[in-house]
Symmetry: C2
Subunit: 405 residues, 2 copies
């Protein structure tokens, strides 16, 4: 993992195999409903054995999926017991979108004997095509029958769209108060593609967490992880991150430890999303230090991370600090170029606003790696932030030009 | 020209051959100073026969070139007589940038017998490399000797960097009050590349314009033209648009006619810039109508125009209205998707938020043209705005990844 990404302190976090069903009290399944034309698995279920403490963060887009609205509503009481996820059709800008989303929640609740208000819905895939809701309803009994505490893999697979691999993370978390497990799964190859690459994330833990605390822990973790990645600057209509806490751990760790673990799961899943970014060959962590405030640092880092010219230079292994200066200048944050220093892959290329003398060959070798850092000191204060991005490649453009609705 | 771009009313505007020296009272030249490694012309001069009414708009970047600061200062009194333009080196983030920019103004003024405060400076090219100011000073006498009222072409050529062609426009402008000429030249292949593709524009007219009025006319024209184009969303450290008015026209037209002509020159030069965008194969005019305010319409149109996914779809000739909806949702403007209709190249692809039935083959043929329109009705009010963009191509990425500082 790139330094400066995720919690600095990972003490007490032991990586373990698994994802959303690593924690006790959860079962999952993934089956084929026939929504994806490819015939691949496209219906996932994640179910807690009993009502769980729950929180969710959904897209800020003003064109928001019915699934996000339903999830917002059903998680508002801080409790949920099941999440139904369909891939291949986002059910956005469709004639009966809200009705179909409600039918997914109702059918899931019916087969599980739950209150529909305890079911969350996530949908990802093409926009504007009516959801073949009957196919999903018909496949739900099979999904319920397949539910298993080993079902995390199958669910992580069934939620994918253009992803090239599943994204799963889990930790056993311990401190002097006790221990628990925090795990999760994600799909998405950016914050990006509304047709096929929405970001969906499910995090589970066996620690006990009431809805209000779960919300606070989740929002805080998302703020420095999923909200600080960028593949192409486009946000989806359907992005959703949900956290469920079963509370079955007998002696859980302290809240601070748990919060660090949730942040680590989010950070590692976010990293997996960026490194699987469409066409990406390289992940870059853009760290801005010495900013007046963390918000300034984040804006500056985000401006660098979303600049097409910077991202194309990262693809070319070019320590092009002129483009980084340009991106800093466009961030809307007061920056004095004469105080700015830039390191690309550890090589100082600009010192106090002017070119540093460095070995171009050495810099090119340093940048020719799958993970690099770009560090910018702006000399204004002592706040910092890191934004994770990937290189912009001809393959990204080709993929998104040739893919047709 | 794409409809909805530039002034709707072009009555009284007759296109004529020429550019920045089409209007009476101006001479120009372009010579080789040896700053460009290619040995191509890289030093341009534009000189008015007498002090001219002047206005300029420079970059909003907070990392701003010394040339922009000097131009801001020297145009503040509403008067200027010469513009010196060097290409190949932007003189940004260099150890003696301000001193070197002042030396360019001083040397130009010296050879022309002017007050240095009447000279504006524009510099474009690589960032962070010290400007070889002696080469430019040595070449200035040749440039002064070459000044000619036929020199517009040579100047338009010498200001280019990665542009593939010169950009010149001129109109003879008449109304019932009189007539004049308005012309101009530009360089830039986007609002973009700080290393090589800064936007520089010079507009001249023989109409009499005091500095204050010139400023108002120029700002108003730039707001709906150069500020509404996007090649990659990156702004340069050195963007400058300057207007000089010689006042030699005996019976000029009315101010409204003149303002329309300046807007038309800006619109046509801006169009030339976008169609020469790096790697671009297609120009797209994104028009948003029925917005609550013009500012809302502009934000919505800009969000669509800068979306990588929309621009990749334009490259692929794909009427992907789902991506357009996504971009509208991210504009930060209240939009009700159920009121949104979208036409791509004249074909209605989305009506009131849901898919319209249309012939995909016909839509693909309509979009496979060098210039297309994307029209979005948002059903909120009656304001509109158009933003011009180009398609995102694998060539853009390849060019900017392989080009090295």
């Amino acid at each position: 993992m790139i330094a400066a990404w995720g919690p600095a302190d990972r003490s007490g976090l032991e990586p373990i195999v698994g994802g959303a069903t690593a924690a006790d009290g959860f079962r999952a399944a993934g089956v084929i409903s026939g929504v994806k034309p490819s015939g691949r698995p496209d219906l996932a279920l994640l179910v807690a054995d009993a009502p769980a403490g729950a929180a969710a963060v959904t897209t800020t887009s003003l064109v928001k999926a019915p699934a996000c609205h339903l999830t917002d509503r059903n998680v508002a009481d801080g409790r949920a017991q099941a999440i139904v996820i369909n891939a291949g059709n986002a059910n956005v800008c469709t004639p009966h979108g809200e009705e179909h989303t409600q039918r997914l929640a109702d059918a899931t609740a019916g087969h599980l004997g739950l209150d529909p208000a305890d079911v969350l819905v996530m949908s990802t895939g093409v926009i504007g095509v009516p959801l073949p809701v009957e196919r999903i309803e018909a496949a739900l009994p099979e999904a319920v029958a397949a539910l298993s505490s080993d079902g995390g893999d199958a669910a992580a697979t069934a939620m994918l769209t253009t992803d090239t691999r599943t994204k799963q993370v889990a930790f056993r978390v311990s401190d002097d108060q006790g221990s628990c497990v925090v795990g999760g799964m994600a799909k998405g190859v950016g914050m990006i593609e509304p047709n096929m690459a929405t970001l969906l994330v499910i995090i589970t833990t066996d620690a006990p967490l009431g809805g209000a605390v779960a919300k606070k822990v989740l929002r805080s973790a998302v703020a420095t992880t999923f909200n600080r990645i960028s593949v192409d600057g486009d946000g989806s209509t359907s992005d959703t991150v949900a956290l469920l806490a079963s509370g079955t751990a007998a002696t859980p760790p302290g809240l601070d430890t748990l919060a660090r673990a949730v942040q680590a799961v989010c950070a590692d899943l976010a990293h997996a999303v960026v490194s699987d970014g469409e066409g990406a060959t390289r992940v870059a962590a853009i760290t801005v230090r010495q900013a007046a405030t963390e918000s300034d640092a984040e804006r500056l880092a985000r401006s660098v991370a979303t600049s097409l010219l910077v991202r194309a230079a990262i693809h070319g292994g070019d320590p092009n600090w002129g483009r980084i200066m340009m991106a800093l200048g466009n961030a809307g944050v007061d920056v004095d170029p004469r105080r700015v220093s830039v390191r690309c892959a550890g090589v100082t290329v600009c010192r106090f606003g002017v070119a540093a003398s460095f070995d171009r060959g050495q810099a090119a070798i340093a940048m020719d790696r799958p993970e690099i850092t770009i560090e910018v000191d702006v000399g204004t204060g002592d706040a910092e932030a890191t934004v994770l991005t990937c290189d912009l490649t001809p393959e990204y453009v080709r993929f998104n030009a040739e893919y047709t609705t």
